[in-house]
Symmetry: C2
Subunit: 379 residues, 2 copies
């Protein structure tokens, strides 16, 4: 393999695939990035077996030559060093020349690097994915759907299926659900799916967070291919493969109340600021407990207390307050997580009693729903 | 104590003094900020016994009222919570009212806080500092002098005196020296000192780093008062007290060579970039060893190698190269630390052999000098 390539394009491709390099792998070849050069272009690949990312660098764009390949071939280069070094090379032209036993020379300006390369034959092969189930989703929407649900997955590895986000697609309605048994987040969006439908597709929350980072800022369409045990995301020249999580995701539809005994409409920002201040005190008690009470004058009170520090009390006007008076306690951190992702100036909160799930929804639309279980406290 | 104060000014003063609050103190009162209100203004104080910071908030400026004091008095409030909370209060007007047993009410907009205050009598008294030894230094210069030396102090607590920066002032020449026995940094600047002189004043590197953070960005003069065992910095409305370190700082003048066998003049940026690339490989070997060799054509070569990864070689043109040929090894991290603070386009490096100290100086002026001991290697 012998080629010359522009540093900027090489660097961009490396940054994309580097998200799949595991930092604590026991399989040495997986701490590398595979470089494949053909006369059609250069492909970089990284994999930690759960996710694999492939980035293709074409030989040229309309206005410039990016790469020239003198001799085709492949090599695996140590990722950590390669990622850092390419960023810092002194010249826009980078020459890579792989010799005997994958000994690799990288030359750029007055910099000369000899690297111990590894055998590309040892690198895992990319999964083959049948492309009959394909949907297209705008990149911005995909990022939002991830952001609005992924914080509710569990980090507790003893419930592996709950470390993922559940995907369902029926009748053109694409739905994400995440829960850690104490809270639940769901987001739905219409997609042009023709006759694609699937259920119980569960993808690791960590993987989705990594994916969100490489979805381009320009709002391009992302093709999502759902196959047997893999999901493939096509982002322009980048292919992102993710393994699905094994197991059956629990049915959460029954725990979501649809009628309420107390209903509130509040300004999202004002509620968020008030809970944030109450949280400051509650976190000193480690429990993060904050109380919400309806008042006779139609306002609400948010409060927290700490035996050592004191007490914070917040008064907040409600745009609407209907139903029974209520006094309820909840984890303020969970509530703040929800308020951060609610994309509506006002929000609806529904209660069915001090011991029953709290439902939070944006007021402008029905695209998302959040549930938080209250704390059972005695006062 | 009962007062009303503008949130913005209270917050600014809190942020300044909070640098002196120790996060891991065994003396509960020191985890607080003392608030003193008189009819002349409000003073905040924090102390971790090594450093103490006092910030004064005047009752008014030319164009606005900042504080109105209804009842004078003092209280100590829990710093961590107070610092975070004042930042987030909903209204510009903050009312503070201290009642029985230092129970404190803070009210701002619709937020109501009850805080358990502590007895201000238990708070340490600020040191009294005799003001006969005073110099004035521009804030920018003081920050530069700290930044250009403080990275060379030791973090090894077994040599406490070397965790500090040595200050000397003689004949209007103000000098900072820091060393960890492997490297040394010194910086000198002329100051208008009248007949002030001192020697063996040693101030903790950590303290100076904290000080540098609160020196205002506007280039105002900082008054420095050097007393028996304390140094006091006056930064406008902020007083910063620091204890001096006990002990005698070693004499470092004799280890600095003044004649050289090999002399180099190099572009600072190009050298820094080349060593940075060589460092990337050397850090994988943990030692950070990089080699510098003079070449017959008058250029120099920078290189590093790792048995596992390979080798980086950099060619660099020298603006000047005089004297004996040389091959020397050093800690590239130490050299990068120096190159970061050299404020001159070109720099001078002097060598007196592969086993002797390396001297680095800016080429434009003689204000700073850095020394790095080489590695003794066999090849």
């Amino acid at each position: 393999m012998k080629l010359t390539i522009l540093r900027h394009d090489l660097n961009e491709a490396i940054q994309n695939v580097s998200k799949a390099v595991s930092s604590r792998t026991t399989i040495p070849i997986l701490s590398g990035i595979k470089v494949d050069a053909t006369f059609g272009g250069v492909t970089l690949t990284a994999s930690d077996t759960d996710i694999s990312i492939q980035s293709f660098i074409p030989m040229e764009t309309a206005d410039k030559t990016i790469a020239t390949v003198e001799r085709t071939g492949s090599v695996v280069l140590p990722a950590k060093f390669f990622v850092e070094m390419v960023k810092k090379l002194p010249h826009e032209q980078v020459h890579i020349d792989v010799g005997e036993r994958f000994q690799t020379m990288i030359r750029s300006g007055s910099t000369d690097i000899q690297l111990v390369g590894l055998d590309p034959e040892e690198f895992p092969v990319m999964p083959t994915v049948a492309e009959d189930q394909v949907i297209s989703v705008p990149g911005d929407l995909l990022r939002d759907m991830i952001r609005q649900t992924v914080f509710s997955v569990t980090t507790n590895e003893s419930s592996p299926i709950l470390t993922g986000v559940l995907w369902n697609l029926h009748d053109g309605s694409f739905k994400f659900v995440a829960t850690d048994r104490h809270r639940l987040a769901s987001r739905v969006a219409p997609v042009e799916s023709k006759d694609v439908r699937f259920s119980n597709v569960v993808i690791s929350g960590k993987t989705l967070s990594e994916l969100a980072k490489i979805v381009p800022d320009q709002n391009v369409m992302v093709d999502i291919v759902v196959a047997e045990s893999q999901v493939l995301f096509k982002l322009g020249n980048v292919l992102f493969f993710s393994r699905m999580l094994d197991g059956t995701y629990p049915d959460t539809s029954k725990i979501i109340p649809t009628t309420f005994k107390t209903e509130l409409v509040l300004n999202t920002k004002l509620l968020s600021d008030a809970i944030d201040r109450a949280y400051l005190l509650s976190r000193e008690e480690k429990t993060n407990i904050v109380r919400l009470s309806t008042m006779e004058d139609g306002s609400i009170e948010i409060s927290s207390s700490s035996s050592e520090l004191g007490r914070v009390t917040e008064q907040l006007d409600a745009s609407q307050l209907n139903g029974d008076p209520l006094r309820i306690a909840f984890n303020s951190k969970y509530m703040l997580d929800v308020l951060k992702v609610i994309d509506s100036e006002e929000l609806f909160i529904g209660f069915t009693g001090a011991m029953s799930p709290i439902i939070i929804k944006p007021r402008d639309h029905d695209n998302s729903l959040h549930l938080i279980l209250p704390y059972r406290t005695t006062n």
